[in-house]
Symmetry: C2
Subunit: 208 residues, 2 copies
DNA sequence: GTAAATTTGTGAATAAAATCACATAATTTT
DNA sequence: AAAATTATGTGATTTTATTCACAAATTTAC
C-alpha cells in the first residue's frame, strides 16, 4: 500500500522531526508529530507501521534514527537531480529557490527555447532545448520540472519522455497523464487558489 | 460533505470544460470529463450530484451552463483579490504569473520588509509591512499568499490574521494551522518534490 | 525487584470515498 | 409513435483510509 497522501504525511513528519532536531531534541513521540502535522497520533503510528518504521515502546522515536528511516523511504538518502524546462517567472523562481538548500534536491540545469535566456556561465546552466536529450543522458537525470505555458506543455512533455525522464513535476496548467514510463505529478496553481477560495467562501474547514 | 479532493476535482472539471469550450464544443459528457481529468465517469457524476450540478439524461452537460454551475460552487463568479506577503523569487513569480490572466484571481499588492523592494508605481504595488493592515481594510481583501522564508512565516501569519484575512495560501516551508478565523492551505514545494521522488524511486503509480 | 505508568504497534471496528449497476429520462431511428 | 439507444443520477456495494482500543514492551517510581 502506498497512496499519495500517506507519502505526503511522511514528508511532513520528516520536516517536523527536523525542526525538533534543530532544537536539540533527541526523541519524539507520535503525539508530538501528530500535533506538529495536524493528524492523530494513531495515524502517525499506522503510517510508520506500514513502512516498517519502528520506535521504542514507552521511549518514542529516536529522532536521528527516525530521520534515517524516513529519508530511506522518501528516497532522500541520495542526491536527486532535476532539470527544469521553461525558464519563465516561475521557472526562474524555482531555480533560485533557497528552500531546497538543506535538502537533497538540486536543479542542475534549465532549458528554454528563447536564446535570450541561455546562460552557460551561471551557477545553474540555462541551455537550448536542442541539448535537452544529450544533457539528460550525459548527466543521468531522471526527474524534471515543467514550467512552460499551457500551449507548450504537451510538446515539452513528449521531449522529456523521449529523452528518458522518469518523473515530472508539472506546473503548466494542463493535466498530463502518468504512464508506465513517466510518472507525472500535476501542480496547478490556479486550482490551489480556487480550493482556498471555496473554503473561505463557504466557511467550512478543509478536512485534509 | 465537502472535502478538499472533491473540490480540487471540480476545479479540474472546470478547466477541462473551459478547454472544450475554446474548441467550440457545446456539450460534454461525464465520460469526456473523466478522460480529461483522469477519474472515472461515475466519479464525475457523483461529484456533480453532491453539489446539485445537473445535466440532461442522454444529452450530457451544456458546457456554458456547466461552467456557470461550477463557477458558482467554486466562488469564481466574482473577482477574488489577494495580497502577497514576501516579495522574494517565488513571490515575484506569482505576481507576474500569466496563468491567472483569464481567471477571476488577482494579486492586488505585495508586501515586504525590504525597502529596496517597495514600488508605488508598478502595476502591482509593493508596499511596506506597516501598511498591510490599512491596505487590507481599505481594499476589503480577505485572501493572502504567504511567500516568506520559514523563519518569518509565523510572524507574518499573525499579522495577516490580526488584520482580518480569512484565507491564506502558505508557500513557506512551515505548516500553519487553520482555525475558525483563518483557513490556511499549506503548499510545501519540497514536499511535492519528495512525493514525486518517492513514486519514481519505487516505480509505483500514484493513486490520486 | 515489584508495581505503576506510559507509549508503541497493530488487529478490529468505524468512517469515508469510490465504484457499480440499474432505473429513469431524453433522443434517435425506424 | 413505438422501439432502440444512450446518458444521467443515485441508492447499494465495495474498497480504502482512519480511528479505536488494548496487549506488549519499556521506563520510572517506590
Amino acid at each position: 500500500m502506498s497512496n499519495r497522501s500517506r507519502i505526503l504525511r511522511l514528508s511532513r513528519y520528516k520536516n517536523a522531526a527536523l525542526r525538533l532536531k534543530s532544537l536539540n531534541f533527541l526523541k519524539v513521540f507520535s503525539d508530538n508529530l501528530a500535533d506538529a502535522t495536524g493528524v492523530t497520533a494513531s495515524q502517525v503510528r499506522k503510517d510508520f507501521s506500514i513502512f516498517s518504521i519502528s520506535g521504542n515502546r514507552r521511549g518514542g522515536y529516536q529522532i536521528e534514527e527516525l530521520l534515517t528511516q524516513l529519508n530511506r523511504v522518501l528516497g532522500k538518502d541520495k542526491l536527486q537531480k532535476f532539470i527544469l524546462v521553461g525558464v519563465g517567472n516561475l521557472g526562474r523562481a524555482l531555480i533560485n529557490y533557497q528552500g531546497f538548500a538543506k535538502s537533497e534536491i538540486k536543479i542542475v540545469a534549465g532549458f528554454d527555447t528563447d536564446p535570450a535566456k541561455f546562460n552557460r556561465k551561471a551557477d545553474t546552466l540555462i541551455l537550448p532545448m536542442d541539448e535537452l536529450a544529450g544533457f539528460i543522458k550525459t548527466n543521468e537525470v531522471e526527474l524534471a520540472i515543467l514550467t512552460v505555458p499551457e500551449f507548450n506543455a504537451q510538446e515539452a512533455f513528449d521531449k522529456l519522455k523521449a529523452a528518458g525522464i522518469k518523473g515530472i513535476l508539472n506546473f503548466a496548467p494542463t493535466r498530463l497523464k502518468s504512464d508506465d514510463k513517466v510518472i507525472v505529478h500535476n501542480l496547478n496553481l490556479e486550482t490551489e487558489f480556487e480550493n482556498l477560495i471555496y473554503f473561505v467562501n463557504t466557511k467550512t474547514l478543509p478536512s485534509d
